[in-house]
């Protein structure tokens, strides 16, 4: 696997963001989920064809300034500031889970800033009849069962590995808690912050990827996203839960590359 480099950008007067960067070519911005950012095989392979920018959300990793961001709107403006700093007018966005939700917000708030949108099992909706699980009230083993079909797989083991050394363990748990705290800022107590009423504004060509056996955000939510986003294509991937892009790496990469390289995409007028 290629080693991404970590860069630090002061995006405005109150937020400094750390990004993992790798690859050459057209830029793709990857927005991570509530569990944090890890350079995984999906990102690694994506960087074979694109220049991948993967920012740590404010409050996660070396990205600072979470406390200066009041709400989703403030977060959206922060990402536009990041686009400006990277000199990207209209971004290709891939976002997983909470990152997918942020991607949708970015595409809905100022449609001109998003060129293509690829949400993977995005958060942002809540159905009382079919509620998504509460990630803030789960034991680690319960979370594992919710987000990955085969909890004995190498991917699962890598995701939930704990170091033996106590100092490393303490440091890791603090990182996990800080990451979840940043996510909670935008997902607590329910992830529905009104996105449903804004989805109609998205004009970017959109492909939604969802694991058919998603144990965290029910696959039924996918249809809501598809129906409310004007030009959206929905791809359900079998034998995959919430970590679909790692569980079905080949299929998801193929769908991703197809979507990001298609040249006949037209923006909705």
């Amino acid at each position: 696997m290629a080693q991404p480099s970590e860069i630090q950008i002061q995006v405005n007067d109150h937020v400094s963001m750390a990004l993992l960067v790798a690859g050459e070519g057209e830029p793709v911005i990857y927005l991570h989920g509530a569990g944090g950012l890890f350079w995984d095989p999906y990102l690694d392979q994506l960087s074979n064809q694109f220049k991948v920018y993967a920012p740590f959300m404010p409050g996660v990793g070396n990205s600072t300034g979470l406390e200066t961001i009041r709400d989703i709107w403030g977060l959206v403006l922060t990402y536009y500031d990041l686009f400006d700093a990277l000199e990207i007018d209209a971004a290709n966005i891939v976002g997983h889970s909470m990152g997918g939700m942020i991607g949708c917000e970015l595409a809905a708030t100022d449609p001109s800033r998003v060129k293509r949108l690829l949400p993977i099992a995005p958060a942002g909706l809540f159905d009382l009849e079919n509620p998504m699980g509460d990630i803030f009230a789960m034991l680690p083993e319960e979370l594992a069962q919710r987000i990955i079909l085969d909890t004995d797989s190498e991917i699962a083991k890598a995701m939930f590995a704990m170091p033996d050394d106590m100092d490393e363990k303490v440091a890791m748990v603090i990182t996990q808690i800080s990451t979840l705290n940043a996510a909670a800022k935008f997902l607590w107590p329910l992830p529905d912050k009104g996105l449903k009423d804004r989805l109609y504004r998205i004009k970017a060509p959109t492909t939604i990827i969802w694991g058919k056996q998603d144990g965290l955000i029910p696959v039924e939510y996918a249809e809501v996203f598809r129906s409310k986003i004007a030009h959206a294509d929905l791809q359900l991937v079998d034998q995959a839960s919430h970590t679909v892009q790692l569980e079905q790496l080949g299929t998801c990469l193929e769908l991703t590359l197809q979507f990001l390289t298609a040249d006949n995409l037209t923006q909705v007028a």
Partner: protein
């Protein structure tokens, strides 16, 4: 030394298999386990006990706030406080302490300024205001406050309440979480400049500084007694020294379960089952709901995570589940129990070791019935308290205890003069 007769108002009639059948005493305990007829008697027994504590001459009677909680049945402690104020107003010795209102949960927070001012006036200036952040279960899980905002909301609410209490003019508040064009809380507080403030906490680093810098009294509220409290009070006094402050014991208090009987043996006979009820049932808390991410700051996490990860910090029901019983509770200091001499001796030793002036007594332990509660209160007040009251004779408690009605209040004429000047 001063003594608070404190009551959590626990439900005494949880089923014997509660902790086996249900995940938690807090946040998710099935409401169907609560029988309002039993609850009616329970509330009135506890109110009777607090009123009796006033007769017995405790320095204060105390109530607190919890939500969706079967061991703490006071979602609104101010309601109970208002009942108690009727008797406290006639008392020469006893104050009311609400320990307290979780500030971030009140919208707008001037509600606390108003209700606490009502209690201050109702009691005749014999009121102590408790300002807890509140537990994560109460604030984040039950009341839905975003954990990343909880402490900011708490500090903003505190500043707003303090300004409301100490400002005579109508003022405007433009905060991050509260915008109020006209702040002018009535009634004004009875004490000058405001009721003493106590900060109950679980020992987060930030709380030490907040208490010390504002000259509030810090109360360490854990149910695990004096030996455990040492871990918190040690760093607290160290911080006081670093800040160049004196070590007035009334700057701090701690919470202690206490059971008094004629002899050490009869204490075990009378209280053991109720102590077991407390630790096995009332402390049966779902680990999923103990702490939202961000509830503790990184600094506090660094200080406390190790003991959680290596398994040395455990919940009450885990302890009970491991077969711990009365003798372990005594040995570990969770409970101070026995004859009046035994209790007095141990409590004095504990208070001196912790260097605290305020003892918050949990005399109602778990399922204790009315008669036993009254006996516990009486024996402590008559046979233990007199032995300990002069423990800190050289220290002045008046910064941290109520002072009654202020001698004088500013008048409209003062206002006019001030404006002319």
């Amino acid at each position: 030394m001063k003594f608070v007769s404190f009551n959590l108002m626990s439900y005494r009639d949880l089923p014997a298999d509660f902790e086996q059948k249900h995940d938690s005493v807090w946040v998710t305990p099935p409401k169907t386990l609560y029988d309002p007829r039993i609850g009616h008697d329970t509330y009135h027994d506890y109110i009777d006990a607090l009123e009796y504590s006033i007769d017995l001459g405790y320095d204060a009677v105390g109530v607190n706030e919890h939500h969706s909680n079967a061991y703490g049945l006071m979602p609104s402690p101010n309601l109970l406080g208002s009942i108690l104020s009727r008797k406290i107003r006639h008392s020469d010795t006893t104050s009311l302490i609400v320990l307290g209102n979780s500030l971030a949960l009140y919208n707008p927070p001037i509600r606390v300024a108003e209700e606490f001012a009502m209690l201050d006036v109702l009691t005749g200036g014999k009121f102590i205001a408790g300002f807890p952040v509140g537990t994560s279960m109460d604030t984040n899980y039950v009341y839905g406050i975003n954990p990343s905002e909880l402490r900011e909301r708490y500090y903003e609410a505190h500043d707003l309440i303090m300004k409301a209490w100490t400002t005579d003019e109508v003022f405007t508040w433009n905060g991050k979480y509260n915008q109020l064009r006209y702040v002018n809380t009535w009634p004004r507080v009875a004490q000058d400049p405001h009721p003493p403030v106590w900060i109950p906490g679980g020992g987060s680093i930030e709380t030490y500084d907040f208490s010390l810098k504002n000259n509030y009294s810090f109360s360490y509220l854990s149910y695990f007694g004096h030996k455990y409290a040492k871990k918190v009070m040690g760093p607290f006094w160290q911080r006081a020294e670093e800040l160049g402050l004196d070590d007035n014991p009334y700057r701090a208090g701690y919470c202690q379960l206490v059971c008094v009987s004629e002899t050490d043996e009869s204490a075990e006979k009378e209280y053991a089952e109720h102590a077991m009820y407390f630790f096995a049932k009332c402390m049966h808390i779902d680990p999923r709901l103990v702490e939202a991410p961000g509830y503790r700051t990184v600094a506090s996490l660094k200080a406390g995570l190790r003991s959680q990860l290596d398994g040395s910090a455990k919940f009450g029901s885990q302890l009970a589940g491991e077969g711990l019983g009365w003798k372990d509770f005594i040995e570990r200091g969770y409970i101070i129990a026995g004859s009046p001499d035994t209790v007095a001796e141990k409590l004095k030793e504990a208070a001196e070791e912790l260097h605290v002036g305020n003892i918050i007594l949990i005399n109602q332990v778990g399922s204790m019935p009315r008669e036993l509660l009254m006996k516990n209160l009486q024996m402590f007040a008559e046979e233990v308290m007199p032995k300990l009251q002069d423990t800190w004779p050289e220290w002045d408690s008046s910064d941290y205890w109520p002072s009654g009605f202020a001698d004088s209040y500013s008048t409209p004429d003062d206002q006019a003069n001030k404006q002319e000047a």
